[in-house]
């Protein structure tokens, strides 16, 4: 396969940035990659839903929040499970919940104009965070796990290593979903549905069931992500909101259906956020930079497409 010149150019830019960061502050590189892992792990299930079901799920981060509460109360408090164990039952329960949400709501909005779908999932997001607020109040909950503060030292630089879990999960999700979509019967059907639902129906694929399964898989994966999120972060009803927004931006930046692209975009954003955070006195700018990069990417892309 021929490698595009722009790909080489981008790789060179990223490599140069990485070298510069390494020379400047090696820990920034570590934290940037870890942050990228978290962003990608959260965003990938959203990319799956957008790519196949063609719906922007504005309740995406809130589903992570629900999963985190589930992991906290049922698995941790009630059954005494560590989040790493809890993520299995939580994922299964979330997958079932996802199926239910699909059948009860999303399915009926798919034929409606896109605006209705946005309003529907936006409504779900508000409902989830309000219900969490009523049930658990706005007080935050946090686990204190000793393993999350594990650290490593290379030369005279030491840094936390636990967050590499997010990187591993993000890569596993991207690779796993790719294999699922390209190798399995169900996955190939999902790809076909994502590309042309009418075409898929006339070759004998049950489009409605495929949508349901993909949505359910995505919400199930949020069960895993939510459990991992709980290991280190404090959870409260509004904790998911910013992740909905950031995931949406990442997915938009990567382009519809491009799951591996989400990894690269997360890396770019994670690194730039870490760099900003690394400059003394400028930490507050990291969100602004995040969105500035997104806006710039989308503008550049629309400009390029217009020229074609």
């Amino acid at each position: 396969m021929a490698v595009k010149r722009s790909t080489i150019l981008w790789a060179a830019v990223v490599a140069a940035a990485v070298v510069l960061i390494l020379l400047w502050k090696p820990t920034v590189l570590v934290y940037g990659v870890q942050r990228a892992g978290l962003y990608a792990a959260v965003a990938i299930p959203m990319a799956l839903v957008l790519g196949i079901v063609h719906i922007v799920n504005l309740a995406h981060g809130e589903l992570m929040m629900v999963a985190a509460y589930l992991a906290y109360f049922v698995a941790n408090r009630l059954l005494g499970l560590d989040p790493f164990v809890a993520m299995v039952p939580v994922a299964l329960v979330m997958a079932a919940f996802g199926w239910l949400i699909y059948k009860a709501t999303i399915k009926h909005a798919l034929k409606a104009p896109e605006l209705n779908q946005l309003i529907l999932t936006f409504g779900l997001a508000i409902a989830f965070s309000q219900i969490a607020n009523l049930a658990f109040t706005s007080q935050s909950f946090k686990l204190s796990l000793s393993y999350v503060s594990a650290s490593a030292t290379i030369g005279d630089v030491s840094f936390g290593v636990f967050d590499f879990v997010y990187v591993a999960v993000a890569v596993l999700l991207a690779v796993g979903l790719r294999l699922f979509l390209q190798r399995t019967r169900m996955g190939k059907a999902a790809l076909a549905v994502g590309q042309n639902p009418r075409g898929a129906a006339i070759v004998g694929i049950n489009v409605d069931r495929t949508y349901g399964i993909i949505f359910s898989i995505a919400v199930g994966l949020m069960g895993i992500v939510g459990s991992l999120f709980l290991t280190k972060q404090a959870i409260f009803p509004g904790v998911g909101g910013p992740y909905t927004m950031k995931s949406f931006c990442l997915v938009a930046m990567a382009g519809v259906g491009n799951i591996v692209g989400v990894l690269y975009c997360s890396l770019a954003l994670g690194l730039s956020e870490a760099v900003i955070n690394g400059i003394r006195g400028y930490a507050g700018w990291s969100n602004i930079v995040f969105f500035a990069i997104i806006i710039a990417t989308i503008l550049v892309r629309s400009y390029r497409e217009r020229k074609r």
Binding site: G204, I205, V207
Partner: protein, 233 residues
Amino acid sequence: MLTIRNLECGYGRLPVLRGVSFDVGAESVGLFGPNGAGKTTLISALLGMVRPTAGTLELDGQNLAALSTYQIARAGIALVPQERELFPAMSVADNLELGAAYIPHARDMIDERRESVLGLFPILKERFRQLPGTMSGGQQRMVAIGRALMANPKLLILDEPSLGLQPSIVAEVFEKLAQLKTSMSILVTEQNVRESLKAIDRGYVLENGRVILEDTAEGLLHNPHVISSYLGI
């Protein structure tokens, strides 16, 4: 085999089909009519994509109106849609394979089906790894026909296969259909009556949502209405 009785169908309150009846047996049948006559609507009803408001649709005694599109496909009806509806990001090879992969009676004979499709349209062999978007309209039409044939259908339906194709390709497509009609039932809608008469045994003329004429290919060729409205003599 396919029996349609008093079919009525429309969009919202707009009636499009106003009581259409016809049959397709072990034969090749044409359905002719001008733009907007309701040909695509009729096919959509057959495939469960629009729901009839009255009448019956049966394939070998099975009520199609109760089934979803994917179930109708699995029951043995393969469609070559007017808009082709290919999978744009998949190669010709994958598009063909998808034609059979989810059809129970075709799933286990993908290799044989592919052989026969590539035998019928050798050009697809050269384009095997290409994306449909990189091919001409005629070649894309062949991919769509090939994909439908992969399903080993009892009934092959083609909705205006000649649309947008240059005359030499149109002739080629109907030649291929003429070869196919010995092994399956065919229903083809067309405005291009002259070319398609080579590939059909019988035909119906649909105008304003009603069948106004039914005859053999030979009969249609000599019918004054067909001659003045469709053969342009």
